[in-house]
Amino acid sequence: MSLFLLNILLALAWAALTGRFEPVNLLFGFLLAFALLWLAFRRRNEGRYFKQVPRVFELLAFFLIDVVRANLRLARTVLSPRMNLRPAVVAVPLDLKSEAGLVLLINLVTLTPGTLGLDVSTDRRIMYIHTLWLDAPEQFVRGIKQGYERRLMRILEA
């Protein structure tokens, strides 16, 4: 956590020194500072942070690709005269335990078109997801668990 703060401070310093507080420049400063911190601290016992940052970016990339792909499929479904829907409410068992992780997971699931996080059971063991196209139930559950839950767990609970 302290490394993360240091990273942000260094990114801000980079932006201040170059005099341009644009988002692209801030992002570049963040990556530059990350490389610098990696060079400086990789030998100490702080390896966790250096694994987490690439994982966050990987999750973001995976999410964006999923969003684009699912939006195209949604467009095709909505615009075709006979909508090819196979809607279903599917129960997905949860391994994720932390509250923040659950909120993030259900938000990510809802923001990808076609799936909608409906509710989580009161004892937080099962999440109910509404989907537009249920092709194969096992494959769908596996997709959610492997795609989002595992990645989130590796970031939050590693």
């Binding site: 949604l74 279903a88 409410v89 923001l111 909608l116 996080g117 409906l118 059971s121 009161t122 109910y128």
Partner: protein
Amino acid sequence: MLQMIIVFVLMLTGALLMLLAGIGVLRMPDTFLRMSATAKAGTLGAGLILLGAAIYFNDLAIYTRALAIVVFLMLTAPVAAHMIGRAAYFDGVPLWTGTVQDDLHGHYRRSTHSLEADMVPLPEQVNEVVEADDYAEEG
């Protein structure tokens, strides 16, 4: 010039996504499917249009404002969808007849508003479990 092209591409994509949400909410056959179309097509459309606006004005104050709205939308839209979806299911709004699977059926407890994963309805609890057919005769 290049800046204007990026702005136009972002705004047009955003407007198309919004139109997709509009057509989706009009054509989809039940409440949950309609929500599926609006919760993200609307949010992503608004996000893209905001990004276009931020790039157009190219001002730090507007970048931060745009970022704040996008983050806020992405955090709240799913929460709002979850709350309406839950309320609709609880209220007995029927699922579309073509729905292939409904794992949520009979898992809400009406007296406590809780959702119980492994509830097996006992004979005396049958009336308490929500069945999704309260609206059947109105439909």
